[in-house]
Subunit: 143 residues, 2 copies
Amino acid sequence: MQFSSRLPIAVHILLCIVEFDGKYKTTSSFLADSVNVNPVIIRKTLGQLRDAGLVHVEAGVGGASLAKDPADITLLDIFDAVECADTELFRFHENPNPACPVGRTVHAVLDGRLADVRRAMEDSLRAVTLQSLIDDMEHKLET
Amino acid sequence: MQFSSRLPIAVHILLCIVEFDGKYKTTSSFLADSVNVNPVIIRKTLGQLRDAGLVHVEAGVGGASLAKDPADITLLDIFDAVECADTELFRFHENPNPACPVGRTVHAVLDGRLADVRRAMEDSLRAVTLQSLIDDMEHKLET
DNA sequence: CTTGTTGTAATAAAGAAGGTTACAACACGC
DNA sequence: GCGTGTTGTAACCTTCTTTATTACAACAAG
């Protein structure tokens, strides 16, 4: 199992929006060229980021811009925007046998623990701001 | 995105092995009946748990047993056994444009952060032992 | 040697991810 | 108003992953 590349792609997009602000119009095809995926994928991802209130997208004229201070955007915000935030982290096998003492209780026994795992992952994602990624990028570009 | 049900299934299997120890022979079809999946799935999962040194499986005669003290088996051990532990947690979009300053650096900027997320998840999984799940289960069965 | 079991291959079905084409709706410059 | 470039979206396809299922050789014990 693996998470899709949507989070990395979304981060790439946001970094581009910041990096090219005022220099280039960040259209879906411009971004597609940097990310190296299909422009439609960019438009879908931008749509998700827009719905989450992270970016503004100019319909018609084209181009996207940040809707919030990069210090107020965390990896968790981006993750929730592009990976379906409503589904469980772990799929559960369906209909364990209720006639079995284990089958009757696994769900109750595991659910809380798996929720803790999800929470740990979310906390870790929340600890990273877009601003810190920008700082890292600028630093790497200078050297 | 979602993790497969392999971890929940593996936990269910291990709980059954403990719960029915000395009472029933935990064959793949016996376990399949409790978990409510195909016996072949059980055999494959048991094979992964065996390869990870967590259980013994009796070829021919049938049945499985724990290979370690339940207090020494963590959710991380089980997770690593049944989910491929060698792949990255997040897939990365391939070949970002090296002619772009962002494309050139995203990988270096994100890799460390995503590794931190994985570590947080692993720490959280490591914090749960099979023994604690057994205790939970016994408690729930009593009431 | 019969019986029940494991290990494993082969195949199928269903779902998710990403690619691609197509086109209506939109906003701006002229 | 009209052409141009862009976004939003639908539709379809391919590939990969997950799970189910059938089949059968290898194995252990009575």
